[in-house]
Symmetry: C2
Subunit: 187 residues, 2 copies
């Protein structure tokens, strides 16, 4: 099965290999040839399935958004409040770091990919659930964008290593404290 000429599910194997590689050295250090070697195929096999290096990362990002949407939806189900969803946002960035490292990087992926767009839209819907309509005057929902910005910025700064040790020790608890300090979550 595994040593067939036709791999069976090479696409899946390549995505997994890419996720591992990103987890080890980040997306900018990703090498298609290294991914191919990890999956045990020739150096040009990835290009056949994904067209492009960006194509492979696009597939990773799309899968990431799907898992992200799952995590956010589950967080709504648990307690239903904003803190839980924000904490899930932060937890995803930590636990699924290789996915997160690719998901909000337009220069690394094909932003017009239908699968990616669909998955990203699902995640956005899961995130904004229950945050009401956007203000027709302003053209956007200020509270929802604020919550998103807060969670995203916290996750991004945390991952980049800009937060003190006390935050890194328990990021979810720290996020809740930070969110409360801003006055958010009372809506």
């Amino acid at each position: 099965m595994t040593d067939r000429y036709h791999h069976g599910d090479l696409r899946r194997a390549l995505i997994d290999a890419a996720v591992e590689a990103v987890a080890e050295a980040g997306p900018s250090a990703l090498s298609l040839r290294a991914v191919a070697k990890r999956a045990g195929v020739s150096h040009a096999a990835p290009a056949h399935h994904f067209g492009d290096k960006a194509g492979l990362l696009t597939a990773v990002a799309a899968e990431g958004f799907e898992r992200f949407a799952d995590a956010l939806e589950a967080a709504w189900g648990d307690t239903g409040d904003f803190y839980a969803v924000g904490a899930a946002y932060v937890r995803f960035a930590i636990d699924r770091r290789p996915y997160f490292a690719v998901m909000f990087r337009p220069e690394l992926v094909h932003t017009d990919d239908p699968d990616l767009e669909r998955a990203a839209a699902r995640a956005a819907a899961a995130l904004h659930r229950g945050s009401g309509e956007s203000d027709p005057d302003a053209g956007f929902n200020a509270a929802a964008l604020g919550a998103w910005s807060l969670a995203h910025g916290f996750a991004e700064l945390l991952i980049a290593g800009n937060f003190p040790p006390a935050v890194r020790a328990d990021p979810e608890a720290a996020f809740k404290a930070v969110a409360q300090a801003t006055g958010l979550g009372r809506a």
Copy 2:
């Protein structure tokens, strides 16, 4: 002067060339050889001054943090409130995009570089000015981290193209609306 064998200020010229290149295609697409060509020197000249590709980007990031600190300090001077500083944060991310694209990317730079550390510390000090001491129990200042996360997340999501057109039309005004919606800035 410019066609001398000893360039005069090649280091400066290389940084400028790198900033231009990053502005055009992002930091991941940066090529040392292209930077060298842009500055009119041989392909190995950058390595002599910066040791490394990461070394060049480190110099760019350090310069970025200096300008960033300037901008934040100026914003405090203007009106002295949080909204102005947050808006300056967002404006910097837009106007000085090539710098911002490198400043919070630990995988692209030498995070232990003394110049970079000094500049980043200055920017952090400028950002947290007037936000009081950190809570000794928690080990961090929740309100300050919240403000930082909000501004940073907003800037990051805006740049990545995740916000609706109404926000992109006037990002600073949108940020103020978003910050107000969270209840922040009343401290």
